[in-house]
């Protein structure tokens, strides 16, 4: 009984946490380059809507994912032009991007609402042999493909940030753009490319929602997960591995109310109205994680990237 409960919870938590993981990884890279992005929610929604619409009309999930990624990356590019080249305030433009994305996906997705069910979805992948291992098999080896992409992207992002020249450039631009500029790093270009990458990851997050985790398109289907990703970036201390831990934990907590309803013998949960309080848990978890993250950051002096959120102009300091 309890084993199945936890196995289900962990398996579902991994799947539900993966879209947030994608968005958070994108956020980590963008913020490392000094660009704060509060528009993740909007980019995810546009990605989810585009992916679903494309997968429906072409019948190919891959085409859907690619379309979702490109649509959100285009939004990321527009945002980068505004905040990197035009030096707009990043908080307000990020919020504006969020509004635009939410509204745009509602307008463009309106004809899709009646066709709720997805035709082409991202397949699950059962690893032959390994999937019959009792607990591990169910948690790890019968997952959707996106979970495996998530497993791969976490170390890849870490390698990108800490073991490549590109990563060095991204981190330098986020810490001290003037110094990076004097060493010949193209500050504007690095920030723009990082932001486009973040957009693409948010698009992947949206596509994996509408084509894998909860297949279909519902207006506002991200339900705040984009904002959660913004919070997890800070909780993660701008580190891909901690981002993964946070995202999967969030996924499990988000799944908890559903799973607890199936457990018998818990008198507390007989009252269905208590589900509202359980549904608050993921959001309260993010707040608690942020408090914990800020305490650790203050103790270890692990701050945000020093130039985070500050527009930079060549020749000005």
């Amino acid at each position: 009984m309890t084993t199945t409960f936890f196995v289900n919870l962990m398996a579902a938590g991994l799947a539900r946490g993966t879209p947030i993981l994608f968005a958070t990884l994108g956020g980590v890279v963008a913020e490392r380059s000094g660009v704060m992005n509060l528009g993740i929610e909007g980019m995810m929604l546009v990605g989810a809507m585009t992916a679903f619409a494309t997968a429906r009309s072409t019948g190919s999930a891959l085409a859907g994912v690619l379309a979702g990624i490109s649509a959100a990356a285009a939004l990321g590019l527009a945002y980068a032009v505004v905040v990197v080249y035009l030096r707009a305030d990043q908080v307000v433009s990020g919020l504006a991007l969020g509004f635009v994305g939410t509204g745009l996906s509602a307008v463009m997705g309106a004809p899709l609402v009646e066709q709720r069910e997805a035709t082409a979805t991202i397949p699950s992948w059962e690893v032959p042999g390994l999937s019959s291992i009792p607990v591990l098999g169910e948690v790890l080896f019968r997952q959707n493909l996106i979970v495996w992409i998530g497993f791969a992207l976490v170390p890849l992002c870490w390698l990108l940030l800490y073991r490549t020249r590109w990563g060095l450039a991204i981190r330098a631009v986020g810490e001290h753009p003037s110094a990076a500029d004097s060493m010949g790093v193209p500050v504007y270009r690095v920030r723009t490319i990082s932001m486009v990458f973040a957009g693409a990851m948010a698009g992947l997050a949206g596509a994996s929602l509408s084509l894998a985790v909860t297949p279909g398109w519902v207006d506002g289907m991200t339900a705040g997960q984009g904002w959660v990703a913004v919070g997890l970036v800070i909780f993660a201390g701008w580190d891909p591995f901690r981002a993964a831990a946070g995202a999967w934990l969030f996924g499990a907590i988000r799944r908890l109310p559903l799973d607890l309803q199936a457990v018998e013998g818990l008198p507390l949960f007989r009252n269905p109205n208590l589900g509202y309080f359980l549904s608050m848990l993921p959001y309260l978890f993010v707040m608690a994680a942020m408090v914990a993250g800020s305490q650790r950051a203050m103790r270890k002096r692990l701050g945000a990237p020093a130039a985070l959120g500050l527009p930079w102009t060549r020749g000005e300091r």
Binding site: L38, M290, T313
Partner: protein, 365 residues
């Protein structure tokens, strides 16, 4: 000399009022043009949609009355956002504070005071409860920001979802009216008076739903303007927003100001929630707010955080909501709000800098 022209920016030394106003107007026009392109791509005739919105939102006494009704909560939320934004505290939780204010006001009207309570006791109690609940909700985020340096952007946002679930619990659960997701109607003494209530004496007023909340909202604007520009508190708030270290060196308390500014911001949003349940809905129900708290953020920024400009912009956004209500697909007003904000913020660089074109080879200063 390569003869290629390069575009650069030169800082402007001063910005005249004419430049500011034309910037606002041109940005709105630019945003509407972008929106037209997107609407066209979505298969909607943009000019017909804009024409309909202008007619439905601005022409005739009913339209103006509906627009004012929508503008009331927007104005209060925008004033609330302006207070926090002045100190560069990003209170994005106006929506949650509005919901909690509405909840607290409903608790007073339905549970705490007897239905026989007279209006002069009922309405002030509801206002105090609404403003107080909003203030507490946001002061928590302000305190986390001030003492633990937790980003108020995220906490206020997360609290929006918590507040929505809190309201949902009460309207679906203990306060539900026969299982519907709404509470029973408030007693008559808990409703803000409307123009239409006087229709038996002046028949021409029938159908006008403007309620007394608009007086609260429009009254709050000059009061807030006075607080922000004519008092020591407002001065300190602006100093701390512009340069926290200067403020700290001058002996101002950053932490105290942060909590107070957030509390005042939340109080105004909570008041918006009270006015909405008491003046419009007359009960608490699920999803009664179409995102007034978020619209307030856009309006505050477009009004450049100055109360009187905010009044004007609130009214225009009220018209946008009324006019956009019947446009299919939904979401058009929200998209336009975002676009307007995006274009305004993106083009603010032209207020601060002058665009200059120079040939390559000429040295920049």
């Amino acid at each position: 000399m390569r003869g290629i022209a390069r575009v650069g920016f030169e800082p402007r030394l001063e910005v005249s009022a004419a430049v500011r106003w034309s910037h606002t107007v041109l940005s709105v026009i630019g945003a509407l043009l972008c929106g037209a392109g997107l609407l066209d791509a979505a298969g909607v005739d943009p000019w017909a949609a804009y024409g309909h919105m202008a007619r439905a939102g601005l022409l005739g006494s009913y339209a103006l009355s509906d627009t004012t009704v929508k503008a009331t909560p927007i104005l209060l939320c925008a004033l609330g956002a302006s207070v926090a934004f002045r100190m560069r505290l990003w209170n994005i939780g106006g929506e949650g504070q509005l919901l909690l204010g509405a909840w607290a006001a409903s608790a007073v009207a339905l549970k705490l005071l007897p239905t026989s309570a007279p209006w002069w006791l009922m309405l002030p109690c509801m206002m105090v409860a609404g403003a107080g609940a909003g203030a507490l909700w946001s002061a928590g985020a302000g305190a986390l920001r001030a003492y633990l340096r937790v980003s108020e952007i995220i906490t206020t946002l997360m609290l929006n979802y918590v507040a929505a679930l809190w309201v949902a619990y009460f309207v679906f659960g203990p306060w539900s009216d026969r299982g519907f997701p709404l509470t029973p109607s408030f007693p008559a003494s808990a409703n803000l008076p409307r123009l239409a209530d006087m229709a038996d004496r002046w028949p021409s007023l029938s159908g006008l739903t403007v309620h007394a909340g608009v007086l609260v909202a429009v009254g709050a604007a000059p009061l807030l303007g006075w607080l922000l520009t004519r008092t020591r508190w407002g001065f300190e708030l602006r100093v701390l927003g512009a340069n926290p270290s200067v403020g700290r060196l001058a002996g101002m308390s950053v932490t105290r100001h942060a909590v107070v500014a957030m509390a005042l911001s939340g109080a105004l949003c909570g008041l918006a929630g009270m006015c909405e349940v008491s003046g419009v809905v007359h009960r608490l129900q699920d999803r009664f707010s179409p995102g007034y708290g978020f619209t307030g953020i856009v309006v505050a920024w477009l009004g450049k955080l100055e109360p009187w400009r905010v009044v004007v912009v609130s009214f225009l956004f009220g018209a946008l909501l009324v006019g956009g209500k019947e446009i299919q697909p939904g979401g058009v007003p929200q998209m336009l709000q975002g676009l307007v904000l995006f274009v305004i913020v993106g083009s603010e660089v032209l207020l601060r800098y002058r665009l200059v074109v120079r040939r390559a080879g000429e040295n920049a200063a």
